[in-house]
Point group: C2
Chain length 352, copies 2
DNA sequence: TGATTTCTGATAGACGTCTTTCATTTGCAG
DNA sequence: CTGCAAATGAAAGACGTCTATCAGAAATCA
C-alpha cells in the first residue's frame, strides 16, 4: 500500500521547492504564474489532498463555530439549543468549540448587531436562522469578507448571501400534512382548518400553499384561515371560537407555533363530539405529550438533530476549505404516537 | 485560553516519566501498579484526552472498516451498498477505508467463513447483519479477541457477542404501521391482512406483534397471516388468492420483502373495488415508484443512511478507544407520496 | 549595465503522539 | 549482600503541515 502523497511529493513532482508549494497552497507571498500552474498541476496529477489532521496539529487549530438562535417564547428554538449543547461532547474530541448566541426574534437590527460583534472575534463559521431586514445583509457580507462561513438554517435567505441553506422545504411540509389528512379521511368528505402564525411569515405561507395544493384535487375543502400569531393564547381564543361556530371541521393543520393553546382547546372538547384529525409542527414537549395522550394525531418535524449534524459537518468542511457537497434538502419527519423517538428498547442492557 | 493538557503534562503531574505514561496509556511493557494508578489519576485530574489527530499522524493510521452485507435478491441490501459507497468520499478525507463484503443471505457458514478471513487481514472494525447460526459466534469472538470492533446492523444478535446494535426496533415499526392503519380507517371497521417473509424470521415476527398490539384495542381485525417468503412471485400468487377469497380486506401490511409482487397485484385490481390501505417496508425503488403512482399509501423505512452514518461514527469511536456513547435506537421513518426524499427545491441554484 | 524588485530555495523549529533503544534504578529472592 | 528481573527514565526520530527567516537567483526597470 503506497502512502498518500505529501507536500514534499508535490514539490518534487512540480520541480519547485517545498516553500513555493506552501506559498501556492496557503496563498501567501508572491509566486510566479508559471510556478503556481506547475504546483496546481502536480497536485492534480498526484491527487494530493491535504492531511487535515497534520495541518490542524501544526496550527493547534480549534474550530470556532457560532450559532445565532432567535430568543423568545418559541419552544422549538430551546429544543435546538439543547441539541446543540448535546452535540458538543462528540465534537469536543474533534477540537470544535460551539458558541450559542441568542438574539431577539424577528429583529433584524439585533441580528445585525450580533453578527458585527462576531466579526470582531475570531470565528470560523456562523450558522443563523435566515431573516430579511435592514443591515443584516451588510453584516453578513462583512463576515464573509473575512473568510467566515455563513450558513442559513431552518429558514433560508437569498442565495448569494449565505454559503448554503440547511433545512426543510416548507412546501413539502405542507403537502405532507395534506397527504396525511387525505389519508385520514379515507375518501370521505371533510373540511380542513388551517392555522398559521401570520400570512406574512414566508415559511408558514409556503406550508399553507403546500397543503392547499394537495387538498385541491380531493373532496376536502378548507375553512377560512386562522392567524394565531404563534402565540398560544391567541390560538386558543380564536380556535375555540371557530370550532364553536363551525361544527363541520374534520381536520386542523397548524403550520406555526403556539400549539399549547390549540391543545388546551382540544382537551376541553365535549366528549360526544368526534375530535378532528390534527396535524401540528415540531416535536416539542407539549406536542409530544399531546401525541402520547391521543389528543392529536400527527406531528411533522423538521428534525433539528439532523439539521444541526449537517450544519456542523458543513461548517467544518468549509473551514477546511473543502468544496461544499450539495446534500439534498432535509425531508420532514412524520411522527405518530407509535414511532416517537427516544425510547430505548427494553432488551438493551449495558455492554459487557 | 490555556491549551489542552498533553502527555507531557500528565507525566509531570503524575511524577513519572513520559515513557511510563506511554506504557500505561498504550498498554505496553510492565508498569508497577503504583505508577499506573498515579498516571490514571493524573489523566483524570487534568482531564486529559488524547489528541486523535496527532496520534493518527504519528501512526500514519488508516481506519479500515468492513461491512459484511447479505447477498441475494433483496433490493434493500443493494440500497445499503449504494449508500455505503457514497458515504466514502467524505470519509476519504478522514483516512477511512470502507470495504464491502457480500455473503450469501441466511447462510451462517458463509458468514463465519467471511469473518474468519477478515480476522487474517488487519481490520479495525466490522459491521454485519446479525444472524444466528453455528460457527458465527466463534468467528466473531475470534475477531473481537484481536481487538476488532464488531457491530450488528439492521438485525441484532445476542448482546454479549457484539459491541453495539444499530438499527430500528422492529416492534416499534410494527406498531407504527398499526397506528397509521388505524388513522386511515378513521374509526370505521376494517380487516387487516398481514404479510411476512416467514414466522421464523425474528424481525418479521416482532413487527407483526407490534401491529397486533396496536390493533388490539380497536375495532380492526386481522385476517390470517400470509407467508410470502420474501419472494415476489410467492407474495404475488398468495396475495391474489387471498384478495379474491376475502373481499372484506381493507388494509394490507407487508412486514417483509418481495413487495414487487404485491404491487403487481394491486396494480391489477379491478377499478371498481376500493383499494385497501397499504403499508410496506423500505424505500427501495419499486416501493417508491408505487408510492408515487398512488398504488400504495405508506412506506416505513429504517433509514439506512442514518444507520450507516451512525455505524461509521461508532466504528471510529471504538477504534479510537473512546467510551461508546449510547445512542437511542433509530426510529423508523414514515414516507407518503408527499415527503419522499431526494428532490431538490427548484429555487436552489449553485452557490456563487 | 547596475539597481531594484520579485521570486525561489533551503532550512529549522514547532504541534502532540507513537515507537524504539539503552541505560539505569528498584524490588525481591536466594 | 549478591544477582537477576522488573520497572523506570531519558532521548531521539518519525508523521505531515505550518510558519518564519534568510540568502540567493531571476526578472524588471532605469
Amino acid at each position: 500500500m503506497k502512502r498518500a502523497p505529501t507536500l514534499v511529493d508535490v514539490a518534487s513532482q512540480a520541480g519547485v521547492s517545498y516553500a513555493t508549494v506552501d506559498r501556492v497552497i496557503n496563498g501567501r507571498g508572491a509566486v510566479a504564474e508559471k510556478s503556481r500552474a506547475s504546483v496546481l498541476k502536480a497536485v492534480a496529477d498526484l491527487g494530493y489532498v491535504r492531511n487535515v489532521a497534520a495541518a490542524n496539529l501544526a496550527q493547534r487549530r480549534i474550530y470556532r463555530f457560532c450559532f445565532v438562535i432567535p430568543e423568545g417564547t418559541n419552544t422549538f428554538f430551546d429544543r435546538v439549543c439543547t441539541i446543540l449543547r448535546n452535540a458538543h461532547p462528540p465534537a469536543g474530541t474533534d477540537r470544535v468549540q460551539i458558541a450559542i448566541e441568542r438574539v431577539a426574534a424577528f429583529d433584524p437590527a439585533a441580528l445585525a448587531h450580533c453578527l458585527t460583534k462576531l466579526a470582531q472575534i475570531d470565528v470560523d463559521g456562523v450558522a443563523l436562522v435566515g431573516i430579511i431586514g435592514a443591515g443584516v445583509d451588510d453584516a453578513i457580507a462583512a463576515l464573509r469578507a473575512k473568510g467566515v462561513a455563513v450558513l442559513a438554517m431552518i429558514s433560508d435567505m437569498p442565495a448569494p448571501q449565505r454559503d448554503a441553506y440547511i433545512g426543510i422545504d416548507n412546501a413539502t411540509a405542507g403537502r405532507t400534512a395534506g397527504g396525511l389528512i387525505v389519508l385520514a379521511h379515507g375518501g370521505r368528505a371533510g373540511r380542513v382548518l388551517p392555522i398559521i402564525g401570520a400570512i406574512t411569515a414566508r415559511d408558514h405561507a409556503e406550508r399553507l400553499a403546500g397543503l392547499r395544493e394537495t387538498l385541491a384535487p380531493t373532496t376536502l375543502t378548507t375553512a377560512p384561515l386562522v392567524e394565531g400569531r404563534d402565540r398560544h393564547d391567541v390560538v386558543e381564543a380564536r380556535l375555540r371560537a371557530v370550532l364553536a361556530a363551525d361544527p363541520q371541521i374534520t381536520a386542523i393543520y397548524s403550520a406555526g407555533a403556539g400549539n399549547a393553546g390549540l391543545i388546551r382547546v382540544i382537551a376541553a372538547l365535549p366528549a360526544d363530539r368526534p375530535r378532528p384529525v390534527i396535524v401540528l409542527h415540531e416535536l416539542v414537549a407539549h406536542n409530544r405529550a399531546a401525541l402520547e395522550a391521543g389528543l392529536i394525531d400527527i406531528v411533522i418535524d423538521q428534525r433539528p438533530e439532523e439539521e444541526i449534524t449537517r450544519t456542523l459537518a458543513l461548517l467544518r468542511s468549509l473551514a477546511d476549505r473543502h468544496p461544499l457537497p450539495d446534500a439534498p434538502l432535509i425531508v420532514p419527519a412524520i411522527y405518530i404516537r407509535e414511532n416517537l423517538p427516544g425510547t430505548r428498547a427494553p432488551s438493551e442492557g449495558p455492554a459487557t
